[in-house]
Symmetry: C2
Subunit: 244 residues, 2 copies
């Protein structure tokens, strides 16, 4: 039985990916957070089509956001990492449009819906941040659309690996050039719109080319610059964003 993490002790907010909070915001944040929710690996955090009012921030662990078409095919919309907001759409528009599934054991900070309104009413700066977060999310989805529409198989995989690596490095989860990678190849292929078989072939070719390697639930980045170039990604300055 672990105690609930106080926002004061939040291991995420001081990471370079996130905009620092003021004293005042931090105080509000502590009252805003209503508790935590634990979802074990394989469990659903949010289910497509189901009413759900809460907002979450992923405190630890990883997840995938996905939709399933009537054809039965699954698309992974995005990977979800510590610090990511979950449930904005369902929280605002009423019901969840996609499923969020825990890939590892996860801990979520819980923000009840009715307090969100209070945030807009009393904390305009935080409300602005929330919109900012939504804009960032939108930006990444735009990137994803461009990837699925215009990049070939190798570029897609390279792109996805670089994205994951940069995101995790930005919250300090890299060690010796590796980051945790708990996703199955099936998850990766569902994310980039390729078959598992082809995904596997591409991965082994990237390994062969000495660019990156997945092994033991970890992703090893052997040539960040090379892989980024292959993926047609610019080495954009890492931008920061708020965290809720």
């Amino acid at each position: 039985m672990t105690a609930v993490t106080d926002c004061l002790d939040c291991p995420l907010r001081c990471r370079r990916l996130f905009v620092p909070m003021t004293e005042d915001e931090l105080a509000f944040q502590r009252r805003f957070k209503a508790g935590e929710r634990l979802v074990p690996a394989g469990g659903d955090i949010l289910v497509q089509g189901q009413k759900s009012s809460a907002l979450y921030t992923l405190l630890s662990g990883m997840a995938v956001r996905s939709v399933t078409l009537e054809s039965g095919r699954r698309q992974v919309i995005s990977f979800v990492f510590p610090g990511d907001l979950i449930g904005l759409q369902s929280g605002i528009m009423g019901e969840a449009r996609h499923t969020v599934t825990a890939v590892t054991d996860t801990v979520l900070c819980l923000f009840p819906r009715d307090r969100v309104w209070k945030l807009f009413r009393n904390q305009p700066a935080r409300a602005y941040d929330l919109t900012w977060i939504a804009a960032v999310e939108e930006h990444f989805l735009g990137e994803t659309v461009a990837t699925l529409g215009q990049r070939d198989a190798t570029q897609r995989i390279a792109w996805a690996l670089v994205r994951v690596w940069r995101r995790l490095a930005a919250i300090g989860m890299d060690q010796d050039g590796t980051v945790p990678f708990p996703f199955r190849q099936q998850d990766l292929s569902d994310a980039v719109g390729l078959s598992v078989v082809h995904t596997n072939r591409v991965l082994s070719s990237l390994r062969g080319a000495g660019l990156a390697r997945i092994a033991g639930r970890r992703l090893e980045m052997l040539d960040h610059r090379g892989l980024s170039k292959l993926a047609l990604m610019d080495m954009e300055k890492e931008d920061v964003r708020p965290i809720l």
Copy 2:
């Protein structure tokens, strides 16, 4: 020389797609709007990588939001229709991440960036609406990702046509089962990640099947239910959203 449209006379806000505004909100809105901007067909409303502070709502005309990769390939992220918000990302995150190009002559309502902060400060309900709009946008991008990742060529085109048709019908732009469709086949193919050639073939097969037809810069929907089914789209209840 046409006069600027007063928000009171806005031809969009009363359409069934949009949440009605209160008297109060309308009053604020009139002060919020700083003027209009006209962009002729083919002109750029926003340019990828360029600083831009303003927020716009497309008042009339149509546009495409797109990004161009280093390979030179272009991805159309979304079509932009009357009532859509433009520039949230650039307005909040600083610089535009994608280009918005006018496809017809367009009129834009202009909201200066510095007034956005005033909105968060003084109009929490409108700020909430802005976030809502961002969430809706995010939802649609998620759909797009799923389409590019999991639907085949025919389903993609069908999906795109139905989306356009529903969107325009929801603001009353349908006449005799047709809606304006000023986009080139090149735009459509860049939107769904297919070559123009294949797009053309699919379109003619849809025409042959009596499902839909594009002619004379108009899209004729011959079998909405059939095309939706083909596109694996549910006949979801039309949901409403706020307009800025």
